[in-house]
């Protein structure tokens, strides 16, 4: 074995062993993201959906389901980084870190599975405006910010104000 390969092989081996050693240490609990108000899932008022299971919601947010039952395209609106709502949704619905979320959408576009990533919104007001304006859109806001302009979807049969609502 040449000297360079020999040295590099040892380095790689030590690196991998050290990393595996670190991996065997107890895993820190994933940070539990808590918001002061439950997160409401909101859709355009004309969207023919009233209730979704958490798994169905996850499938929509992952773009594994891209159309509503009436074949209208789903437009996903996601808050920009560094908002409590986004952190909550990444943690509870996507079950991903920020880096994994970014890589997921890059891969999804690169595989030609979606023509575009989620639309990014920068505030609750902007979310409400776009959900109102775009038929087929879906997004998330704090439940105490919901207005009559949008429809709140039940998750697992429950509204944000009800006990057992899964996104609180």
């Amino acid at each position: 074995m040449s000297r360079t390969v020999h040295i590099m092989a040892r380095l790689t081996g030590w690196l991998a062993l050290a990393a595996l050693g670190l991996a065997s240490t107890p895993r820190a609990h994933a940070e539990e993201i808590v918001t002061s108000s439950p997160i409401a899932i909101v859709v355009h008022r004309d969207t023919a959906v009233d209730n979704l299971s958490l798994e169905e919601l996850r499938s929509i947010f992952l773009a594994n389901q891209q159309f509503w039952d009436n074949r209208m395209r789903i437009t996903l609106l996601v808050r920009a980084p560094q908002s409590d709502e986004r952190d909550f949704v990444l943690n509870r619905i996507y079950q991903m870190t920020e880096a994994q979320f970014r890589q997921y959408w890059i891969a999804k576009m690169f595989r030609a599975e979606v023509p575009r990533g989620p639309k990014i919104v920068f505030s609750t007001d902007m979310t409400l405006e776009l959900v109102l304006a775009i038929p087929g859109s879906i997004s998330f806001i704090r439940a105490d910010a919901v207005t009559d302009d949008v429809k709140v979807v039940r998750i697992d049969g429950r509204l944000p104000s009800e006990a057992g609502y899964p996104l609180q």
Binding site: A16, A19, A23, Q65, A133
Partner: protein, 360 residues
């Protein structure tokens, strides 16, 4: 028969475009602006590496592939995907249209497209494409490496894909029809099929809603390959894969079995290939690190009329670590112990800096 299928496809695409145009007009009539606008998204991938091989003085830096990926969505359902690469060769850069896909999404169940694809055989070939940054390891498994003769990496034709009504099981399918391998079996028939026999493929998969990081699937691929000096060969490949992409752990298992038979009787033989990759994203302060390992094996019958006698048997053990030091770039170090059918055993070390350019 073939021309009938093509005419039907073109008719279908025409209807889709007409419907798209009508939908766009409808959007305008209602004052909608977002849906009917063209939107473009660019992704760029690249990598720079260092390769050190046992028994040679040719150690050195390597410019890997530079890849541009463009997505254009035109309205709600019509989109174009293009992937273009430049690869360093000894005396030049080789440029290639890796994928060019024109796609119309009717619904989740029916998405029809035409163009040049990475053949949906197994997992890796249609999961990571030419994005070195996307894959955990430095390089692809040998049986699906670019330029491989084991698997037809590309095909040119039409593809129908979508979800199957299966509730939480998340079943999906891909059905393809098009030009198979060229006489140079590492290439697809880009400029036309070299014989009248089209390749076809079917892949069935599942992404259970409850375990959304889990992918499992089986597939079959069939083609008749025209070879310049010998009889045509019928190729049938069955494949199976399972992948768990949550990173703690990340597991990818893939197996394929190909049967090759000389048309009209005569030689026949089989090829078997598999790999198993395991990786683990560390937690806490070490979460930028992901160690990984992979085992690979490819076995080819000497009597195989397509692949026998080419020295493509392969055996390898790989260990490495990936460091995501930046949200858009990773440094990977990989040690490989490989045995090639035609070149014997080799140990080598690879270092790779890979990156992605994106607006996401």
């Amino acid at each position: 028969m073939n021309s009938t299928v093509i005419i039907r496809f073109l008719a279908c695409l025409s209807c889709a475009l007409a419907a798209q145009s009508a939908a766009a007009q409808g959007d305008n009539a209602h004052g909608g602006g977002a849906a009917d606008a063209q939107q473009y998204h660019f992704l760029g991938f690249g990598d720079i590496g260092y390769l050190s091989r046992d028994g040679t003085d040719e150690d050195g830096f390597v410019i890997g592939q530079v890849v541009a990926h463009l997505v254009a969505s035109m309205g709600e359902s019509f989109s174009v995907f293009g992937e273009f690469s430049a690869t360093a060769r000894d005396t030049e850069y080789a440029t290639e249209v890796e994928r060019l896909i024109v796609k119309y999404d009717f619904s989740d169940r029916f998405k029809l497209s035409a163009g040049r694809y990475h053949t949906p055989i197994g997992y890796w070939n249609s999961a990571f494409h030419h994005g070195a940054w996307l894959q955990t390891s430095v390089s692809r498994p040998e049986m699906v490496r670019f330029g491989s003769e084991i698997v037809p990496i590309h095909f040119v034709g039409v593809l129908l894909e979508g979800n199957l009504p299966s509730g939480d099981l998340g079943l999906n399918y891909k059905a393809g029809f098009g030009n198979g391998r060229h006489a140079n079996i590492a290439r697809a028939g880009d400029a036309g099929d070299i014989n009248g026999d089209k390749a076809w493929m079917l892949q069935l998969g599942a992404r259970p809603r409850k375990y959304h990081a889990f992918d499992i699937g089986v597939g079959v691929y069939n083609d008749e390959i025209a070879l310049p000096l010998t009889a045509d060969v019928e190729e049938t490949t069955v494949s199976a894969y399972a992948a768990w992409s949550r990173e703690q752990p990340e597991v990818i298992l893939e197996y394929l079995h190909s049967k090759h038979e000389a048309v009209g009787g005569g030689a026949s033989g089989t090829t078997d290939g598999w790999y198993a990759q395991f990786a683990w994203r560390l937690s806490g302060k070490q979460r930028d690190w992901k160690p990984y390992a992979r085992l690979e094996k490819t076995e080819i019958d000497a009597s195989d009329p397509l692949l026998g006698g080419r020295g493509l048997d392969y055996d390898a053990g790989i260990v490495g670590a990936r460091w995501d030091f930046n949200p858009f770039a990773a440094l990977k170090a990989e040690y490989r112990r490989e045995e090639f059918g035609n070149a014997g055993r080799e140990n080598n070390f690879r270092l790779q800096l890979s990156f992605v350019l994106t607006q996401l």
